[in-house]
Symmetry: C2
Subunit: 207 residues, 2 copies
């Protein structure tokens, strides 16, 4: 790409560093910004810089936070005796989006994956065990992706939690709503069979 | 979407204002920036703000510029007696990308389109006529999109240029390289027939 201006070129190169944004898309975005009011672009730029410099991670659950605690941990209405263990912040937002969960979270920031050099020591698992001990937790729910790494992580953490009197569960794996039985892979279908529920428990069940 | 932090939410909303960026993509981009060094994000933000506040439009051809003249107009090696009329800056970059053009440009910033409320008076057509008169231009090449609006614009400008002794051309419309004849629309095929060239002129022809 041959640019008529180095200011334009630098801005396009910055946008093109973002994941999934190629040079052509970056150019389209920058040309869009050129057409906006200067104040609006300054606001865009300031909001991004402020977000990065001021954002914190919740000292309790490692979720993203504006202050020392995230909105969820700071909310007195949430049940602190239930912790849902997730991999990342997007998972928190996905579960919050269901409106079905009223406990707290623990964001691991990853899963145990020896091949990628991620051991249990790099994840805030000790902090989770400490929370279980200090906050009189009754249930830990694992909501990790159904992968070998996810299962390894669950297995490892479960071992650490064994000394404590609490229920450890994992979210159900089965056929998606709207999913067709015949196109479901065998492992999922097998798990949905072994994890079958009495119909009375299934209909209208909430947490 | 339920956000754990208003800093995050504001940043996502800013990204989601960009064309073609939805909330989910915006969230992915912001979470990517959170994982980057603070200095890198500050640089991203500063580059965008600086670009918008300092970018100029070339006083001669209305291309994007760092100073009063764009890189192309400031380049003494370019032939100033040939002007290529284009709709926007992306068209300039597309033609520059071919490496086949050594003249200057005139960026209209749009085409005559009465239905969208764009009349000839809103486009820098007078400036083009002035350039033709003052810069002893020998050829004006129209490189506008092959639409009714493009053709209307060419027709209007051509009328204004009639008093001056110069050649007025338009880029060839025909079958793309790699295009299949049988799938070409009738209008394009008809134009490529009426605009046929002697084979000797076609092979290895450059501007």
């Amino acid at each position: 790409m041959i640019f008529p201006s180095s200011l334009l070129e630098n801005a396009v190169n910055e946008f093109a560093k973002l994941p999934g944004i190629g040079k052509k898309t970056a150019l389209r975005l920058v040309l869009h910004l050129i057409r906006q009011e200067q104040g609006a672009v300054q606001h865009f730029s300031d909001t991004i810089a402020k977000m990065r410099s001021e954002i914190r991670f919740c000292t309790r659950c490692h979720n993203i936070a504006d202050g020392p605690l995230c909105n969820i941990c700071a909310d007195r209405g949430r049940k602190s005796d239930t912790i849902c263990v997730v991999e990342n912040i997007r998972d928190v937002m996905a579960i919050e989006g269901t409106g079905q969960y009223n406990g707290t979270y623990h964001v691991l920031g990853g899963v145990v994956s020896p091949l990628d050099g991620v051991g249990p020591d790099q994840l805030p698992i000790e902090a989770l065990v400490r929370r279980v001990r200090e906050e009189e937790v009754k249930e830990v729910i694992f909501a990790l992706s159904p992968t070998i790494q996810g299962d390894t992580t669950i297995f490892y953490i479960q071992k650490q939690l064994e000394p404590y009197p609490l229920t450890v569960t994992t979210i159900a794996r089965g056929i998606s709503f709207g999913g067709e039985l015949e196109f479901t892979d065998e492992l999922t279908l097998a798990r949905s069979l072994t994890g079958r529920l009495p119909v009375g428990q299934y209909v209208g069940r909430t947490l």
